[in-house]
């Protein structure tokens, strides 16, 4: 029998934050975690977090995990790879997988912070290996450096779907598309912009119909949905993918809480069945607390604050002393939840206790600043609780007025063009531009988190916000940043400073298939991968064969590529139709019509 003052089940952001608070106050705390590493889901988060510095804004998730672990002191005992199997009236049982033994624990106070599990959705063949929850893909690639596959279809455009798509691109996979059943992107615009800049299409009002494959995923069929979310017949499209990544939400893990007698309520806004708790994170059972995703699906910042609140309340009761930090943390939580993205959470929590909000400014930057000066352009239009642009600016040129939910405003007269805000912005939503930097040339400074880094002088293809090619550009400077958000200065033709937001490094010299419309082998192969597997489809999609030569140059090459990629023989593939005119003819001559010829 292990006796402890405070048992924390789950060593994620909520559990660790609670343990930091109680450890600091000399309370014997035991943290039990199932995983192989402390930090919960933070260990696989490679993106920088929103929020403010008090809660590690602009720090990458896995680094936050390390920072939290480093703050635990000798009062905190850790048991990893251990599963709490039951909560009974008199005792808590756990199973230590490493030692293969069972432990009984008798705590005075308990925090259940076990998080959530991946939501699953029904579609044909969803049992196939290769169908993964988004968290699983993250765990594999970011915690263990293993890619589950090369070609991915993402289901769901919430923040997790968007972030994981971006991280898959960083790890070298192809994301064929992000499929979203609703009519708008679920996550933050800044996250959506990050994947769009690399040309990943987000297909709204679409859902997955089935996975293709016998032993594992080899493809997926998606379709457009009607108002009742049923697939409209005839809109189905096939993708050749080896992974279907499901990012459709999380389900709070309420099992232990319910076992302990905590009242469970169904509140869809919080993720489904959630335990009752009050402002102090206390459940209806006096000595049991909950925090983090278990208490309602949100994100790591609020989990950390909730954990600290729970820890401080336990500390107050065990030490019998007032905890002044408690009120500050509660105020912090109110502020974080005041933005539009927390509407749902507030509505859900309203069922337990009344909600407060603080007001914030929705008036962002109105102008694009003084043309010709090197200056940041902040493309952050939603009230995300976040302010590293302001706090990182050495000249005080950026203001997030009032509180962190407000939109940032730049005072261009104070800005020195140093680029620190570009590096710090967790949403990669700040760029720098300078028009007419050289005669006929604009300068664009882009945040870049990909490998390989381009080199000074290298020719690259500048891309717009949707990842479409815009122009040839040249790399002027590469500034490596300690936080891995590097700054790439590229020189683009004049007039494009407000258009270029990304670039790609040309993989190989372009080989043209279609001379008339300038279509390359690469583009045709990409279209076939996207599911255009018929010559006529390719023609309509790429305009291949629609040029003045009538397909004389490109038709056989295209059919050859099609045959090679699909494994069908040329005999099985339709060569498409031939339409008049067979060679260019003047409109004028056609309009004039037939003339009488002398016989």
């Amino acid at each position: 029998m292990v006796k402890t003052d405070f048992l924390i089940i789950g060593g994620g952001p909520a559990g660790l934050s609670a343990a930091i608070e109680t450890g600091k106050r000399n309370i014997k705390t035991l943290v039990i975690d199932e995983g192989v590493e402390l930090g919960g889901q933070l260990v696989k988060q490679t993106h920088k977090f929103f929020g403010h510095e008090g809660f590690y804004a602009s720090v990458r998730g896995f680094e936050i995990a390390k920072k939290l672990v480093s703050q635990l002191n000798e009062n905190v005992v850790i048991m990893k790879q251990t599963t709490v199997t039951g909560i009974y009236e008199d005792v808590i049982t756990a199973y230590d997988r490493e030692k293969d033994s069972v432990i009984e624990i008798e705590p005075k106070y308990i925090l259940i912070s076990v998080g959530a599990s991946e939501r699953f959705i029904p579609f044909e063949n969803n049992h196939l290996p290769g169908v993964y929850g988004a968290g699983a893909v993250q765990t594999l690639m970011n915690q263990f450096r293993v890619l589950p596959g090369k070609r991915i279809l993402m289901i769901g455009s919430g923040n997790i779907g968007l972030i994981v798509s971006y991280q898959l691109l960083q790890a070298g996979a192809q994301v064929k598309a992000i499929v979203e059943i609703a009519d708008k992107v679920g996550g933050y615009q800044v996250h959506a912009a990050k994947v769009k800049r690399f040309g990943v299409p987000i297909l709204l009002r679409h859902t997955i119909k089935k996975a293709i494959g016998e032993e594992k995923v080899e493809g997926a069929v998606i379709g457009q949905v009607d108002d009742r979310f049923n697939i409209i017949p005839g809109t189905e499209r096939e993708f050749a993918v080896d992974v279907i990544c499901v990012a459709v939400g999380l389900v709070p893990s309420v099992e232990l809480a319910q076992m302990a007698g905590v009242k469970i309520e169904y509140i869809p806004e919080l993720g489904g069945y959630v335990p009752y708790r009050d402002r102090e994170m206390r459940t209806n059972i006096k000595n049991i607390f909950v925090a983090g995703d278990l208490a309602g699906i949100e994100e790591a910042t609020t989990a950390m604050i909730e954990g600290r609140i729970a820890g401080l309340v336990v500390a107050r009761e065990l030490t019998g002393t007032d905890q002044p930090d408690l009120e500050r943390m509660q105020q912090e939580l109110i502020e974080f939840r005041s933005g539009p993205f927390s509407d749902k959470v507030r509505k859900g929590l309203e069922r337990f206790f009344s909600q407060q909000i603080v007001s914030y400014s929705k008036d962002g930057q109105k102008d694009l600043g003084p043309t010709g000066k090197l200056r940041p352009i902040i493309e952050c239009y939603e009230n995300i609780p976040c302010n590293p642009c302001q706090t990182s600016c050495p000249s005080g040129a950026i203001d997030v007025p009032g509180n962190i939910n407000s939109l940032p405003i730049v005072d261009y007269s104070k800005c020195t063009g140093c680029g620190i805000c570009v590096m710090k912005c967790p949403g990669l939503a700040i760029f720098m531009v300078q028009e007419n930097f050289q005669p006929g040339k604009d300068l664009v400074v882009l945040p870049y988190e990909f490998l390989p880094l381009p080199e000074k002088g290298q020719k690259v293809i500048a891309l717009d916000r949707d990842g479409k090619d815009v122009a040839q550009a040249e790399v002027l400077k590469v500034i490596k940043s300690a936080n891995k958000t590097n700054l790439i200065h590229i020189v683009v033709p004049a007039g494009l400073a407000q258009k270029v937001r990304s670039f790609r490094i040309p993989q190989k010299a372009d080989s043209l298939v279609c001379r008339c419309e300038e279509i390359t082998v690469e583009e045709i192969e990409k279209a076939i991968d996207e599911g255009y597997t018929d010559y006529e489809e390719l023609k309509r999609y790429l305009r291949i064969g629609m040029g003045p030569c009538g397909g004389r140059t490109c038709r056989t090459i295209t059919l050859g590529i099609l045959s090679k990629k699909t494994g069908k023989s040329l005999k099985e593939i339709s060569c498409g139709t031939f339409r008049p005119p067979s060679m260019p003819v003047k409109f004028d001559s056609i309009i004039k019509g037939e003339i009488e010829h002398e016989k």
Binding site: E34, G35, V36, Q41, T46, R60, F62, Q81, T83, R97, S117, E118, F120, H127, L128, P129, G130, V131, Y132, G133, G135, A136, T139, L140, M141, N142, Q143, F144, R145, V146, L147, P148, G149, Q170, A171, G172, E214, E215, K216, S253, E449, F450, L451, K484
Partner: protein
């Protein structure tokens, strides 16, 4: 090979190689990774079969969905996604619900 050898954010260190057996075949894994990660890195996607003979892979990777249950050193129903791979470990696909061991 599905290992990520270079990454723009994460350092890719050279970890210690351990050997384990999958269905009797010797495979290489990295110390500190889970059985599931090691298998996927080696190109193994099918972790077992259900009672109805459907191929089964893993889904959540954090020990919650139980889709990744395998037979490890003779013990059934081991969650391969949160169990670390060890030198000499014998890992087998599980068919159906698995045997009870004492």
């Amino acid at each position: 090979m599905r290992r990520i050898l270079a990454h723009p954010i994460l350092d890719v260190e050279k970890p210690k190689v351990v050997k384990f057996f999958f269905e009797g075949k010797e495979l290489e894994a990295f110390e500190g990774e889970t059985i599931a990660a090691a298998l996927v890195a080696n190109g193994v996607d099918v972790f077992g079969r259900t009672e109805h003979s459907r191929p089964r892979g893993f889904y959540c990777a954090i020990g919650k969905c139980s889709s990744c249950l395998m037979i490890v050193d003779g013990v059934s129903n081991v969650r391969s996604c949160i169990t670390l791979v060890k030198e000499g470990m014998q890992v087998k696909r599980q068919i159906g619900r698995g045997e009870i061991t004492w």
